[in-house]
Assembly symmetry: C2
Homo-oligomer: 245 residues x 2
């Protein structure tokens, strides 16, 4: 089982509202068709969900956000999901669009439903889910980011590999020199430099790397790669290790 995150900054033009990057989407999807194992795809909001959640001042903190804003953010994420799913269908892949509320209650995992996603993936379909605005409790809502979903799924499914794709080439050892670090480990993780990306309600690159380190801390290898062109890519590996080792 492999978990794949399609970054919002990869699948959309992040500075341009509601604009999908079809070329990048198709490049990544074509690479995925070569994988010969069950996969689950998670994508971010990019210029769809993020655009509206910034407009409606909506965050990961549970609160009574504007109801029309909740409608519009949720709708826009499904619209982006539909774009990606339709690209998959055209490439002959068998996606199964999946709202995160199917396998979460608030931000908590529903283990039985996550295991059902694995069965669905093993049956040959590709569950394709996304960051979303979800009900938490007592009529409060919150943004559940695609990266948080990656952690939730990885914790229950223990996939052999987790892949994050971004529109940067990886994590920099020295940004001025453009030097990409090939491997992150406990010794060098504090000296990393993060490329500045467009402001992002779910926390930008640093937050994403934190999620990646959290997943690698459970012993799973995490690959952080840039948008794939053809069959080659550059990136950083965060070697899986137990946190207590």
């Amino acid at each position: 089982m492999t978990l794949i995150k399609l970054g919002g900054s990869v699948v959309t033009f992040k500075e341009k509202p509601l604009a999908a990057n079809f070329e990048a989407i198709n490049n990544i999807l074509r690479a995925l068709t070569h994988l010969k194992m069950p996969i689950i795809v998670v994508h971010g909001g990019g210029s769809f969900g993020h655009y509206w959640s910034v407009k409606y001042n909506m965050h990961t903190k549970p609160a009574s956000y504007d109801l029309h804003g909740i409608s519009v953010v949720h709708e826009s994420m499904i619209a982006l999901n539909q774009i990606i799913v339709n690209c998959m269908v055209k490439l002959g892949m068998n996606p199964y669009a999946t709202m995160p509320s199917i396998f979460t209650l608030g931000h908590k995992p529903i283990a039985k439903k996550i295991k059902e996603l694995q069965t669905i993936a093993e049956s040959g379909l590709i569950p394709t889910t996304f960051g979303d605005v979800v009900h938490i409790e007592n009529r409060k809502y919150s943004i559940l980011s695609g990266d948080a979903i990656m952690s939730i799924l990885a914790k229950v499914l223990r996939p052999s590999k987790v892949v994050f794709t971004f529109n940067v080439d990886g994590i920099y050892k020295d940004m001025k020199k453009g030097e990409i670090i090939k491997e992150v480990n406990n010794n060098n993780k504090k000296s990393l430099e993060f490329p500045k990306v467009v402001a992002d309600v779910t926390g930008g690159m640093q937050r994403k790397v934190t999620e990646a380190l959290k997943i690698s801390g459970t012993g799973i290898d995490v690959l952080i790669i840039s948008a794939i062109t053809g069959s080659s890519f550059e990136g950083t590996i965060v070697k899986g290790r137990r946190n207590r080792q």
Copy 2:
């Protein structure tokens, strides 16, 4: 709480593949804006989901259906849901698109998730769900019809009212005379005549009335009405009664 079913034959042109009936959708939605209580909307597949499920020979019986067919049926239902949800957003309503797998496991209800839908509806959003192809177990899939979803939701939520909309005026006492029966009860239910509608994988009018009778058997009033024009409509009421009385 009111449960509203938008028949696939109302929201689409059933003989024309993948064609939404925007006029009918907007007529019904405008009528719903006058309701001053929490509502949950369920819609059928019409010329979207039904069109593809007939093509891929997919039924309510759990089986290992064609995987690409599952992708396409599921995608088409989300596409129709997006059309309805976008109409709602344009009318200033606050829909919250909801896949049925959020509140079901196979065809069984998840009571906690159904009660969460009620909280969402009470918060002012309108959960808007639909008949869909869902995973059952052991890599088998099945069509969960919008009408079956109505029964599942009604059983847990015990709404004060359940409304079914069709593109016929109600249930006929005598079809030749065009005589519509105003009320169905245990005495006359065996002599009803059902208008012939386009073949339908989830069972047509007779099946829908069976679901309505099942719901009314738990004591809830069921209204069966034709597509609403303005504020007037014609239809049939199935008075709620306990089955054992």
